[in-house]
Amino acid sequence: MPLLKCENVSKRFGGLVAVDDVSFEIHPGELMAIVGPNGAGKTTMFNLINGVYLPDEGRIWFEGVDVTKFPPYKRAHLGMGRTFQIPRPFASATVQENIAIGAMFGAAGVELNVDEAMEVADQYIDLIGLKAHRNQPAGTLTPIEKKLVEIARALAMKPRLLLMDEAMAGMNPKDIDEMVTFIRHIRDLEGIAVVSMVEHIMRAVAGLAQRVLVMHQGAKLVDEPTKEALNDPRVIEVYLGRQAEEFDVKG
């Protein structure tokens, strides 16, 4: 059984078709990337997967449960975690509290009281190496530390699917490599599927994903293993454009 299954999902905003009849599956423990140029519909697709938007057409299943109409918090309880492109930690709460909130209200949250959630948070603080900042308000951290707190907060939710929105945007190549290693490490550690959304950092895609879903103008362009996808002429065309002689110069 696939972990997540999207079937003919569409979302329109007025006359704009942001996501157009997209179907794909994600399997447990898989590392996948959703790739596409700016405006391809990646963020809308993410928002449809975790319930920030409801689709106009199509259905979404998570572990066999039809979650098409579920609000985000119910999907989180079932085991979907998410990080944002620009990290959004709760600024006035400490690092420990931020991560504990993930533990308290995520998939395993019902059984945890506040003290137990704080203990879970400490484990993830060790994992991201921010022990020195444990009692510091998250608003005072550097951008990369905020990003780590946000990932730890999502992991503390004990998700089986982690959606990472542009986890590596704005990072230098060294940090990207470290982040790729870290994401692979947590995948191995927690056995969760990670879907990361990437606009154009192919270094990250090549290093991280086993499979790539390329979106273009709201529709699915290709859904292939990473190497094939990155060498697919259709994908190259989307990113670099067609060869000059093929252009239609009328318009």
Partner: protein, 331 residues
Amino acid sequence: MKGPGRYLPIFPVLVAYALLMIFGLANPGKWQLVAQLAFYCALGQAFNLFLGMTGYVDFGYVAFLGVGTYGMAISITNLADGNLGLGVILVGFLAAAAFSTLLAMAVGAVALRLRGAYFAIATIGVNEGFRYLIEGARIWNGADGIIFSRHLKTALGRKMAMSISTFWADIFVFGVAILAAVLTLIYLRSKIGYALLALREDEDAAKVMGISVTRFKIIAFVSSAALAGLLGASGWALKLTYVYPPDVFEIHYTVEAIIIVLLGGAGTLLGPIAGGLIYGYSKYFLAITLPGFQLLIFAPIIIAIIVLFPEGLVGILKSRVHGTRFEKFIV
């Protein structure tokens, strides 16, 4: 913080109220001032449970005090001959809490689905709307209000009725203030408090983290409203023994509640007490020294404090004691 130690911050609260009460008992001439200060502290604490914890501004908040006042008034007028004795007061408090809870659920079910400023706008009309509903539809005696001093005497005897309205009503206000403080601390130390913190900081992120934001907003809203109902029943109904719609649905009290919470520190436990004492005393002092000018003088002071110290007095104090041994008392 673990174990019972997490509830230590209730001690400064109890000490503050005990000192205020002792000061009032020792200076009978100042009892009305003390009662007024206790009322403002209680108002701030009750409102803080919603405004401070969620960051949502409810401009119609006074309506909960209003319906609470009616809850007490209606109970006393209807049960005066029932030989219930002091049970009348208890029924009155229950009715007050029930009325304000019901109104909060009705308002909250609609308005709490709205965000921030839209919620604030949606609630602006609630108190005025309720006032005109009572007056226009002649519910609960309409614009004539309810005068129940006679019923209170019938139910409790002349002497007891006097002592209720001149003394015990104010003690009940202290009771509401302490109840609000205890509830605030319990919320702050439980999952409810963390859920409210998350939704106050970033509602979209909170939803994605698995927090049912509407549910927690309703919990805070209803708790805050029920306390307001109890406050109206004690500080207004029992103290004055009458209720007129224009008096108890006056938006002025909502504005005072907002000032108290912001002045002291929104979302903190001690903030509304500090805010209530400072606001209440300044208002009293200015009314004596510069009668008629108190609002003119108070407005710029409040603007200055809110611009310069957006975290409020206790917010500043909290960051000052961070890392010291006083930290566990200041919340």
